[in-house]
Symmetry: C2
Subunit: 229 residues, 2 copies
């Protein structure tokens, strides 16, 4: 197989790969991904935009998936994943987390977020690769936030992050997918009328298995590959 990872170091003689080509291609992948989606992405189109030859692409990545994963890994879609959140109030923290998640989705934008679903859904491997490449979806509720809220008396001890983790990612993603606005007013409503009351009530509920938006496929056979006949 003529495809070698770029990072391999055996230092063969000959003309080295052009890093500029590589990044140009990956940028093109992001662009095409954004407007055509995963299914609609073709080697042909990527090569066209990058001003590169298809051979150059195939020399690097044997499959579309590899190429896309590489682009996601290198692309601007990385989660900001800034430091811990502590605004002094639970409301503030939750708002900040929501905003951060929105920013992540926006960064992974051009509907890359959509791609996550559209493609990952059909292709568990790609799904995992995406999650690994793009980082955690950011829909987790950090323990530090819960702890701080408990310390302040805003939450009962043993509060369960389930409502946050389960709701926020889904709602914001779906909202984004449908082109519905998720402005500050909306976030406030979500935090005040859903998240905070729900979190307050979780002390007695049994803890739920948290589930990422993209990870955690429990039913491996839920993802059919090819049809019957």
């Amino acid at each position: 197989m003529p495809y070698r990872k770029v990072s391999e170091q055996p230092r063969r003689a000959g003309r080295p790969r052009d890093a500029a080509r590589e990044s140009a291609i990956l940028e093109a992948v992001d662009a095409v991904l954004a407007e055509r989606g995963y299914e609609g992405l073709t080697y042909e189109e990527v090569a066209r935009r990058a001003g590169a030859s298809k051979a150059t692409l195939y020399r690097r990545w044997a499959t579309k998936r590899e190429m896309v994963v590489a682009a996601l890994r290198a692309g601007p879609a990385r989660a900001p994943d800034a430091g811990p959140v502590d605004t002094g109030s639970l409301r503030g923290d939750l708002l900040a987390l929501c905003r951060r998640l929105l920013a992540t989705m926006r960064a992974a934008d051009g509907r890359t977020a959509l791609l996550l679903l559209q493609a990952g859904l059909e292709d568990p491997e790609l799904c995992d690769a995406i999650e690994e490449a793009v980082g955690p979806t950011g829909s987790r509720l950090p323990a530090s936030v819960v702890d701080a809220a408990v310390r302040r008396g805003e939450l009962p001890a043993g509060a369960d992050p389930f409502p946050f983790e389960e709701v926020v990612g889904s709602v914001l993603l779906l909202r984004r997918l449908n082109g519905l606005a998720a402005d500050d007013d909306y976030l406030h409503a979500l935090v005040d009328t859903v998240l905070v009351p729900a979190l307050r009530a979780t002390a007695d509920g049994a803890p739920r298995p948290p589930a990422g938006i993209f990870s955690g496929h429990p039913a491996p056979d839920t993802h059919p590959r090819e049809g019957d006949s």
Copy 2:
């Protein structure tokens, strides 16, 4: 344009359309839709399964969208939309509504629900057509349920259905899309730790504009059609 709606009655001469062909085709559309999704649906494949000629399809529907909409309209995907819900408790009502919504998604199954997003997202017209064809998404919280709960003292007067309408549809749909289970345990957790507490807290929050999952595109230009260059 040689395409005429089947229902037109002007009684033209010539061989009439074969209703059996029609339903066979629409069934095939449903099937293909279920396993290949909207993007993956082709005239070719539908014709193959229906044992029909592609010309026969084209004679009826000029575009894929028309065909799909026809299939949805005729298909078994209609929402059950049973009568009003009244189980005697708010919890019970909410659970019942969730189950009903799940049933709708399952009825429109084979990931037809997915199709709703995957395609509707890119195509507002299709989106509207779907919503019109398949009926309301069922993620509304009937006023009767709220009223009953208020009467029982389970909710404060003026409770806002926002948490339910905004959360349930998104969460269940996304869960379904990702192949994550939404069993009864899960629904109980959702109802008890999210919905009920959130609904209880909505008396003072300003009412939010309700938004269906599929309808209500506020930004018409959020839906790009063709590329640039």
